[in-house]
Amino acid sequence: MIPAVVDGDALVQVIWVSIVAGLGLTLVFSLAIAAGARAGQARRSGAPGEALAWSVLTVVCGLLCMVAVALGVVVMLSK
């Protein structure tokens, strides 16, 4: 009964895309925050190499988040 009235493919797509996008965005953004905090700690404790590595991870994760936001706007524009 339910499959006859609901677009089953769309429903499955909504579920898996929501899980991947929601959890992926949270993971990447949390990594950016944690890496940023560790970079600060490393700078304060006089470890410039470690600070640089954490800073690079922060920037990469931040860029990935920006790409996710841009993708969200594209989805809105293309509906």
Binding site: I2, A4, V5, V6, D7, A10, L11, Q13, V14, I15, V17, S18, I19, A21, G22, L23, L25, T26, L27, F29, S30, L31, A32, I33, A34, G36, A37, R38, G40, C65, V69, G72, V73, V75, M76, L77, K79
Partner: protein
């Protein structure tokens, strides 16, 4: 002359609905940002109003014509649209007064279905469409958002768990500004379009626009965008309080995961063409981010009241739409009935605005 007057009334009531949609659903976008102090209340609301306005211009597909696939197209007349809009406005005002987030789209669909039932009987309502486009999505949206936000907050706490709270809180607050902006844009594109669809449908029914390929006039786009933005800027503080602090007391990480998971679910649904209510998604995400931390963190009594409001939205807006339609016909088939209803609605709005002035002070961050 009568047809022209009825068209003006429908356009006016459609814009009034758009305004209530804005202030009713503001909470979805700004409540978590305010309660975690990511933004001050006035800045959050101004930000949401601007992005709602911009969002209304992003897409002009009027595919989401009201209740399409839910009622027979031939049953939708100007009088039915008018009664449906009044039913939706009344339900939005009732739930706003009670501080309960409920779906404005479902209220509009309920109002139109009720008016169609009163005018054409049950045969004009498409049961499968109602089940597939409204009832099942209303069950899916909060459960999915609850699960995604719940899993997301566990991941966030795991990743940032050992860091100093200061930078972590500032980071998640910054993230909330962006995720809240995405939600406001999505709301503007979805909900302002519904009003554009209603007004375009009314213009087609009136004969002003061609039914074969109706183009949305620029004044319709601008007025719909302005009404939803003004409504958003006026701020539905009662619902903001419920969403921001009465369901759970949230920290910045919970605020970010609720908004981020909510935006992910809404955009996934938009991409797949599956109709989900923004209100249901965000409410479910707020509860999920609270329950994953600690089940007792969620005030389940408040959550239960919200669920009851969701269940009642369709029948209550439908009953109001049906009563308004039946009442209008008492004055004959012309414009007299809708004029009387519109006058009563204006009196009710004036009374409510006085009540709001007396009892509704802006919330401060908690």
């Amino acid at each position: 002359m009568d047809a022209d007057l009825l068209l003006y009334l429908v356009v006016g009531v459609a814009l009034a609905f758009d305004f209530t949609n804005g202030f009713h659903d503001t909470a979805n976008v700004v409540a978590t940002s305010i309660s975690t102090r990511a933004l001050s209340p006035r800045v959050a609301i101004g930000f949401a109003a601007i992005l709602n306005f911009v969002g209304a211009f992003l897409s002009l597909e009027v595919a989401a014509t009201i209740a399409s696939g839910i009622v027979e197209p031939g049953a939708v007349s100007l009088s039915v649209i008018f009664a449906g809009l009044v039913g939706a406005i009344v339900w939005n005002l009732v739930t706003w007064y009670a501080g309960l987030p409920s779906s404005s789209s479902h209220a509009l669909i309920g109002g139109v279905v009720g008016a169609v039932l009163a005018s054409h009987g049950p045969s004009a309502v498409i049961g499968d469409g109602l089940l597939g486009k409204v009832i099942i999505p209303a069950l899916v949206a909060p459960v999915l958002a609850f699960g995604v936000a719940g899993a997301a907050i566990i991941i966030a706490y795991r990743v940032v768990g050992r860091q100093r709270p200061g930078p972590v809180t500032r980071g998640f607050r910054l993230g909330q500004v962006v995720s809240g902006g995405l939600l406001a844009l999505a709301h503007g594109t979805n909900d302002a379009q519904k009003t554009m669809g209603v007004i375009t449908l009314a213009l087609v029914a009136h004969g002003t626009l061609s039914s074969s390929d109706p183009q949305v006039p620029t004044w319709v786009v601008v007025s719909s965008a302005s009404a939803i933005a003004l409504g958003t800027y006026s701020g539905g503080w009662r619902i903001i309080r419920t969403m921001g602090s009465r369901i759970i007391r949230m920290d910045a990480a919970q605020g970010f995961t609720a908004q981020g998971a909510g935006a992910a679910v809404i955009l996934a649904a938009t991409h797949a063409g599956f109709p989900l209510s923004t209100t249901h998604v965000i409410s479910g995400a707020v509860m999920g981010s609270g329950a994953a931390k600690r089940l007792s963190a969620v005030r389940w009594g408040v959550a239960g009241n919200i669920a009851i409001a969701w269940v009642l939205t369709l029948p209550a807006a439908g009953a109001t739409g049906a009563v308004v339609y039946a009442f209008s016909t008492l004055f004959g088939g012309g414009v007299a009935g809708p004029l009387v209803v519109a006058a009563l609605l204006v009196v009710g709005l004036i009374w409510l605005s006085f009540a709001r002035t007396r009892h509704d002070a802006p919330v401060e961050a908690v």
